[in-house]
Symmetry: C2
């Protein structure tokens, strides 16, 4: 398929790169540093950033939560407008960065409700410039132009995207991830893996290079994931996970090929309804999506079975079963639960989530054929 | 290794994309269309471009030769200065695009000899904006910031690079490559393959993802190369070759890893001295470089043998021998000669080229250990 691609994000990767903030942000700029719950104060990242920006006028906005909330973002917009901020620096993981992207867009929105950016996909033509210091490899937000924002009172979790919110730069220092709690490391590995699967496990589109790029990332995550959990201060493993997570969602592997994203959309609803971490929902949902869509995904499932897990023996059905089982095993091997009941969610969730999806104005998946019935079927396999 | 990467080139890929030129180039801009020997007039590309730009003020500059010449470029600079050109549109292959990049840089150079950009690597801080319609997948110039220019009277072929010469956009329509002469199709496949090898076949640097990305491109070229030669109007095969060649040298696969480029530098000297096509020189030199550097490249050669050619049997030395032989066989399978004598160049060339390299102010290769003696040794294997 034809494509139109431009990814202008500058990536500075490696230990010590945070110090370059002093070159990356103009001296005359008034900066708002956006961060989360304060883990960056414990692991030294905060100090590194403050030192690098010591000659800048910097104000801080903390308290961005996981699944960043619309209300929090709008508070930041107010502070920015009062403080005449020129540049946003997100320091943290995908949630902090997504919040900064939305804040950057909402700040420059001239008329109308900023919520429309998410709810109605109102076009975002301009945004405050932003950059980031990434401390949690997972979402790929550091090298893409999308963000997901939640609104607790409506139990909604929605996406928007615009080239205006590409970060001007992203600093990826693997050392900042040494102190991540295992749960976040695990989430990051699983999230990155499933980002790739959403762009890979569809139907053949004569794109052998894109296929292999996807398999390259999956194999790297399978190799490096367990290594990093066993040895959290292993720079090499941390670096490989970090770079794999960025490559998993910078738009490059999906050029010219169909995409799925059903597991993500189902997962978003589980997070909105039950509060699970994003990656937790994905590890629950994906094996069900693979199973229910196995006929339509057959060719790619067989390729995945062979190239990612080396499964070549047995019938086609046996190989597909084995590939789905191996996928779930991989998630469990990096410490992720894969069933709703493990999160104390009962079988009634199948119906609750199916009904939520039934209200969407579109069906899910690369064939747009996943409706509420299919969602119910998928989730019944995951209770 | 740490890295700093930003590639802002917008890629428009697929059939029919040339028509978008009318949106890509501002209506008020005065455009110079730069092209080569006129093949674009035979295959319809010229007409498509002229139609898309019908409302623009366009002048033409044709006659860019393979291994584009400094003198030709400087003529273009004169025309641009007289004609107050705002935008350069290169239409053709890597030579035309490289020429446009140098012209763009030389036009805005304020003082000093423009030749210094190549000879002394004088920094290029600004350049006329440029875009391109690529008709020959090979050099990767469409998505990088480098160019190679030759100067016949000095028998020199030199490189320069600067972010200022990244194309604003590159249009890649695989249909434009249907009418390529087999020699150019072959050259493109071999050139792209060896670009990857230069960035891959060095020593392990704990970069499993970069390694696999390289192997992905090599495997794609090995699969699609013979297909495209057998069936030149196969859109899918042409598209895969075109995208693989771009990915082979857009900077992405070399992030954080060592690079070789010895075969390229030796090849440039062969072109400068004997006039062979760039890719012809590479297919001659590379098997020699692999052989002479086999101990230092051992770990990567074994990985290459296994992952690219499936060679797992026999001793390490046997696997390396087989991998080198298979590489040469691949070049021959797509119609490329691999020995100097096949181009009527005698064994005296070994000494001629070694002496030229001996004058370089540096040694070649990822260990900077390839001097004139080693070049002689490499070439003696290729007579």
């Amino acid at each position: 398929m034809n494509f139109d691609y431009c990814n202008p994000v500058r990536i500075l990767f490696g230990k010590g790169e945070i110090a370059k903030l002093s070159e990356l942000i103009g001296k005359s700029l008034k900066v708002m540093m956006v961060y989360g719950g304060g883990s960056i104060k414990k692991n030294g990242v905060y100090d590194q950033v403050v030192k690098a920006l010591s000659e800048r006028d910097v104000i801080e906005f903390s308290g961005i939560e996981p699944n960043p909330q619309y209300a929090t973002c709008m508070k930041a917009v107010e502070v920015i407008k009062k403080g005449k901020i020129d540049f946003l620096l997100a320091v943290g993981g995908g949630s902090v960065l997504d919040a900064a992207k939305f804040v950057a867009a909402a700040t420059l929105r001239k008329d109308g409700d900023p919520w429309d950016i998410l709810l109605k996909q109102a076009p975002v033509k301009e945004a405050l410039p932003l950059g980031d210091v990434l401390t949690l490899p997972a979402t790929g937000s550091e090298m893409n132009a999308g963000a997901v924002i939640s609104r607790a009172e409506f139990r909604q979790k929605l996406f928007f995207g615009s080239p205006a919110v590409y970060p001007k730069f992203s600093i990826l220092d693997p050392e900042t991830t040494y102190t991540l709690p295992p749960r976040q490391t695990t989430n990051g590995i699983v999230d990155a893996y499933i980002h790739v699967v959403e762009q890979y496990l569809t139907f053949p589109a004569n794109a052998p290079l894109q296929d292999r790029l996807c398999e390259s990332i999956l194999l790297t995550l399978i190799e490096e994931g367990p290594r990093v959990l066993k040895d959290p201060n292993n720079y090499d493993a941390r670096a490989n996970i970090m770079w794999a997570a960025t490559c998993a969602l910078n738009g490059f592997i999906s050029l010219g090929v169909p995409q799925d994203w059903a597991s993500h959309l189902i997962g978003h609803e589980i997070t909105a309804e039950y509060g699970l971490d994003h990656a937790q929902t994905l590890a629950v949902v994906l094996p069900g999506t693979m199973q229910v869509q196995r006929d339509k995904k057959k060719a790619k499932l067989l390729q995945y079975a062979e190239r990612v897990f080396g499964l070549t023996g047995g019938s086609e059905d046996e190989r597909i079963d084995a590939a789905i089982a191996r996928t779930e095993e991989f998630f469990r091997s990096v410490g992720q639960k894969t069933k709703l009941s493990e999160y104390d969610i009962g079988p009634e969730a199948c119906d609750v989530i199916a009904k939520r999806i039934g209200k969407f104005p579109f069906k899910l998946g690369e064939h747009q054929d996943i409706d509420d019935d299919k969602v119910r079927e998928i989730l019944k396999l995951r209770v």
